[in-house]
Symmetry: C2
Subunit: 187 residues, 2 copies
């Protein structure tokens, strides 16, 4: 496992004064921590690729020589925690005042809804880089924006502050989003 | 949605006297049926690919020119049904008397165990092509083989018949494995 050395990570994040690497890398490290501590089993799905051409230079090795990235049909992350089905996607933005809805594909919106309807815990984790803040946004807070009951093209930063749950950035795990779920979402 | 025309499918499967296409295709059609009927949300994960080289022939289009298939670190399928976390893999074999354990990667065995420990429903769906039979095998039936408490390199066909649950092959859905889960696994 590539779980990083505690000290090294700490030095890195303090000397560069950058909070974390990318959100995806931070979530992946967090999930690895959860897995190794038997807290939860949550994995990132592979990026979907449309393979067009494959060569076989040797008998056992297939070499893909033409392929294209596909739009994912679901969210990137899912798994199980305390017997509950967990499903989410991560979004990072340089915007200060809002998260554009165009960052959340229509099929991802539909997927989060499908999961919520089935009784799963569906949400987004959003990183506002300029504020250095991370928020967990449950589906029900996002729903009026997805369904255009609130007629806007973006979700205001104030909505994150007032209706979302802030995830503190830490050392181990980096982004303890399951603690937020413990407090607010599982009753 | 590419859900096939009922009549066409029926003709195809009867005229060729082949049961289904491949197991994966049959499961994917079954999952699409579940999704459209709001019965469950279960998706196949994309096949993981290690991308080595990407070209950008035009500004918006990334063309992958060198990539390799990676070994999946989990099972291929997961999702939610009746608020329960579901996780499984599909295996197809031409063997008559047993399923070789080598068909189930060590990390897949570990993943099924992790899911079971977290309270999820973990299993395999196995197609014995020569018998034209499909079985759902819960993790607990597989466990003694995975852990080598039963000291064999394969799981005997009799174990499937006596301890597994047969999934009848149908028209819509093709392989109604959630019905098996209704009957036997959710209490």
């Amino acid at each position: 496992m590539n779980y990083p050395n505690k000290k090294k990570q700490f030095e890195k994040s303090t000397t560069t004064s950058k909070l974390g690497m990318t959100l995806e890398a931070d979530i992946n490290l967090t999930n690895l921590y959860y897995l190794e501590k038997n807290i939860a089993v949550i994995h990132k799905k592979p990026t979907p690729v449309q393979v067009v051409k494959v060569n076989y230079p040797s008998r056992n090795k297939a070499k893909i020589t033409e392929a294209y990235y596909k739009t994912p049909s679901t969210t990137d992350y899912n798994g199980i925690y305390r017997s509950k089905y967990i499903d989410f996607d991560c979004k990072e933005t340089n915007q200060k005042t809002s998260l554009p809805l165009s960052n959340i594909h229509k099929h991802q919106q539909q997927h989060l809804k499908d999961i919520h309807v089935q009784g799963g815990i569906a949400f987004l984790i959003v990183h506002f880089k300029k504020h250095q803040k991370y928020f967990l946004m449950p589906y029900l807070v996002l729903k009026p924006f997805f369904d255009q009951e609130i007629n806007r093209q973006s979700i205001p930063y104030e909505t994150f502050v007032s209706q979302g749950y802030e995830i503190p950035f830490g050392l181990m795990p980096r982004l303890d989003y399951l603690k937020v779920i413990d407090q607010f979402l599982i009753v």
